[in-house]
């Protein structure tokens, strides 16, 4: 039976003990995802290991981690596809830590909330659906797939240096609504991203797009927002 060796970064801020790595060897048949490996460890070796999980199908965004030096979803990472004979599993870098592989996402969601991540309508809705052509809908394809896993946020150097920076995920969400043909925010959402802890803090580093396990491109959204902001401020063009 093949075995997978995991090096797991352990840290309990409350314990007073510093961070360290524990090694565990997990036997498996056929295939094994990192998430399954973590469960095996938690069930058989160390009940105190903790990590986030839910869907195990790469759609909920719970299990973003830093695995073998890359941002990945633990549930989507098959050990057979990872190189090297040990698999290093670490929490999302540069995030406040709750314990082990669980980091504190509260700032992340607080920032998400500030950009008004909802469809803003000012006119009366029709009785039936708001019409939207497939072409208009196509613009949403990329940003609506975001699972808010936080990988991009954790990878962005602008977030590392400036705690107030909204970060790629929140800005991608702003983009998702700004490009929606049904959104009527006009200038309502503008002040929340058109500022120095918003789009202008982004230096087009593109780590975010590199990190995203869903292969989305927050950079593209942020660049669009920058242009939209200039267009709106200078020329008053709203869409």
């Amino acid at each position: 039976m093949p075995e997978a060796r995991f090096h797991i970064k352990r840290f309990d801020p409350k314990s007073g003990v510093g961070a360290h790595y524990d090694e565990f060897t997990v036997p498996y048949e056929g295939s094994l995802t990192v998430l399954e490996g973590l469960f095996y460890v938690q069930e058989h070796f160390d009940g105190s290991l903790c990590f986030r999980y839910c869907c195990r199908a790469a759609v909920c965004g719970s299990c973003a981690m830093y695995i073998d030096g890359r941002y990945r979803l633990a549930c989507q990472s098959n050990v057979n596809h990872l190189k090297g004979d040990v698999i290093v599993v670490e929490p999302l870098p540069h995030m406040p830590l709750v314990k082990d592989l669980v980091c504190d996402m509260s700032e992340f969601f607080a920032k998400y909330e500030t950009i008004k991540p909802w469809l803003i309508r000012t006119s009366q809705n029709p009785e039936k659906e708001l019409p939207q052509t497939p072409k208009e809908r196509l613009k949403l394809d990329m940003p609506v797939d975001c699972i808010l896993c936080g990988a991009c946020y954790s990878s962005c150097p602008s977030v590392w240096t400036e705690g107030d920076y909204l970060g790629p995920a929140a800005l991608l969400k702003a983009y998702r609504f700004e490009v929606d043909s049904r959104d009527e925010a006009r200038r309502e959402r503008l002040p929340y991203f058109d500022n120095e802890r918003g789009v202008y803090r982004c230096h087009t580093i593109a780590n975010c797009s590199e990190a995203c396990p869903k292969e989305l491109n927050p950079t593209e959204g942020i660049q669009w927002l920058k242009r939209a902001a200039v267009r709106r401020r200078l020329f008053g063009r709203l869409k």
């Binding site: 058989h44 009940g47 105190s48 903790c50 999980y53 869907c55 759609v59 469809l119 052509t133 609506v144």
Partner: protein, 568 residues
């Protein structure tokens, strides 16, 4: 102690919709969820949500009444017909509402919401957003909840209902981020914790779909209804049981056996692959059992190759990703190995059409509830609909109940948090035992037992053996010891508490299944192969008893559609 007028446990579609409704009614409402609401299992739903919008050119004659008929027929006549009628009548309305809130549905050229065919439906009436409908709907509701400023307690794990003076007064919950138990007090509670798929080893459900809310209610004396009806989805990936949506077949996918034949022609000659799930799942299982699985093995193929790369990229992009990542197969060039997998819990907490349970102040909605609109077999695309329709209703009904109690307010006896203290003490006690039984070994045995004895095909002797095993497991679970107590994010504790609940819920399934001597919908008995309307056109109600569940029965609400044989 934390007090809100209304507490909603669960941040999936049903819970969020209830909370939004209550907020609209001016109620001080809070959502409690084990994961961030945007990570709820609802987000994994792929195929779509049903409503008779009549947008599809082939469905121009569709009406809510026809939707209701399909639902009732699909349920094998066990659904309460008034509930099915109300749900399908509300359907277009809730779809338009979700759309106005921003849900990115796929569209037709003229800008209307696109609809695809789904199993068991007379018309193409399943509205969808590519193959990520649940994700889109869920995020739309999460966004609405933020807009409305709804208070959310995130990563808070409910472990017990607080029942005082014959009414529900709140819940006790474990604070995963900060550690310790919290006492949430409320004038009413809405339970919306989703399904119990994880009681089976072969499930498409999320890891947190453990039936926690059902167990909490059950232990507080609320009956679980129709728990023996477990839906098996025809197409789960062979190795992981991750779902390949029914939309695959809706878009024209084939099911192929070892001989390369589209075997559905034998089981449902007219609708072929678009037969309801119970029939299709049994067909696949029969093929496998009779040795016509691929290479004589335990799976058949879902073949999408003839759809072409473009259609797959447009309509089923997520499916393609899942098949590539989790099965190593690209549907554009290869057929996908699939097996029937546990998918949905038709039964649940007994509620009426307003989400009210027999316990005053306690409401339930979504997959953890049973209204019942799905009866013995749920149609694809009806459960997302159910979560929103009945989430809204439960939110409204609970709000009305809370308003009727004006002046209730926060209980005076603050301070001690007696219920939370008791919970904490009982966990301490578990931990104090040291190494008792191994909870994870018990869990593994339970999930296998459920698959093998209460799976797609059921039979008296096997079920009796299964039930005995489950009762033995229940005894063992009482002797479990915790390896790790206290602290934050204590998975050991959470998963052990969860396990005890799973066994209770699974026992309700087992007992109900053993008792029901007929075949109906998903409950297929080889020893009683036909439906028996004379004796069994009734709902099962399982109450917690000392030696396993105690069963009672209640007639089905008929009146509109006369029960007839299901033919497809």
């Amino acid at each position: 102690m934390i007090y809100h007028q209304l507490i909603v446990v669960g941040g999936g579609l049903a819970g969020l919709r209830a909370a939004v409704e209550a907020k609209q009614e001016g109620i001080d409402v809070a959502v409690l969820s084990q994961v961030h609401p945007g990570r709820s299992h609802s987000g994994a739903a792929q195929g779509g949500i049903n409503a008779a919008l009549a947008n599809n050119p082939d469905g121009a004659d569709d009406t809510p009444a026809k939707h209701a008929f399909d639902t009732v027929k699909g349920s094998d006549y066990l659904a309460d017909q008034d509930a099915a009628i109300e749900m399908t009548r509300d359907a277009p309305d809730v779809i338009y509402e979700m759309e106005h809130w921003g849900c990115p549905f796929s569209r037709y050229d003229d800008g209307r919401i696109a609809q695809r065919p789904f199993g068991g439906a007379g018309f193409p009436r399943t509205c969808y957003g590519a193959d990520k409908t649940g994700h889109y709907l869920l995020h739309t509701l999460v966004e609405r909840a933020y807009e409305r400023g709804i208070k959310m307690y995130i990563e808070v794990f409910a472990t017990q209902l607080i029942v005082e003076d014959g009414a529900c007064k709140g819940v006790v919950a474990y604070d995963m981020i900060n550690g310790g138990f919290l006492e949430f007090r409320a004038d009413a509670v809405v339970m919306a914790t989703g399904g119990a798929g994880r009681t089976y080893i072969n499930t498409t459900n999320a890891i947190i779909s453990t039936g926690g809310g059902m167990a909490l209610a059950y232990r507080a004396g609320v009956p679980l209804k129709d728990m023996e009806f477990i839906q098996f989805h025809p197409t789960g990936l062979f190795t992981t049981n991750i779902l390949m949506t029914e939309g695959c077949r809706g878009e024209g996918g084939y099911l192929i056996n070892d001989q390369g034949e589209r075997f559905m022609s034998k089981y449902a000659p007219t609708v072929m692959e678009l037969a309801p799930r119970d029939i299709t799942a049994r067909a696949i299982q029969t093929e496998i059992n009779e040795g016509r699985g691929i290479g004589g093995k335990q799976f058949v193929y879902l073949d999408l190759r003839h759809l072409g790369e473009q259609k797959i990229a447009e309509r089923l992009p997520g499916i393609r990703d899942l098949a590539i990542h989790f099965e190593g197969v690209d549907p554009v060039t290869e057929p996908v190995p699939i097996v029937p997998s546990q998918h949905y819990t038709m039964g649940g907490i007994d509620t009426d059409m307003q989400g009210a349970t027999p316990l005053p102040g306690f409401y339930a909605a979504g997959e953890c509830a049973c209204v019942s609109v799905h009866g013995a077999n749920r149609l694809g695309g009806n459960s997302l609909l159910e979560t929103i329709v009945f989430g809204r209703r439960a939110g409204a009904a609970a709000s009305a109940y809370v308003k009727g109690k004006e002046g209730g307010g926060a209980p005076a006896a603050a301070g001690a948090d007696p219920a939370a203290a008791r919970m904490a003490a009982s966990v301490e006690e578990l931990a104090g035992r040291g190494t008792g039984e191994d909870a994870y070994a018990i869990r593994a045995e339970m999930t296998v037992t459920m698959k093998e004895h209460f799976g797609i095909f059921r039979e008296q002797a096997s079920m009796q053996a299964g039930l005995d095993k489950m009762l033995a497991l229940k005894e063992r679970v009482a002797r479990v010891g915790l390896r790790h107590s206290g602290g934050v994010f204590n998975l050991d504790m959470m998963r052990t508490v969860e396990l005890a609940g799973m066994i209770d819920v699974a026992l309700a399934t087992a007992a109900g299944a053993l008792a029901r001597t007929e075949s109906r919908g998903s409950h297929a008995r080889t020893d009683f192969p036909t439906r028996d309307d004379k004796d069994w056109l009734k709902h099962t109600l399982a109450y917690a008893g000392d030696a396993g569940p105690r069963l009672e029965y209640r007639p089905v609400t008929l009146g509109t559609f006369e029960p007839q044989e299901r033919k497809y």
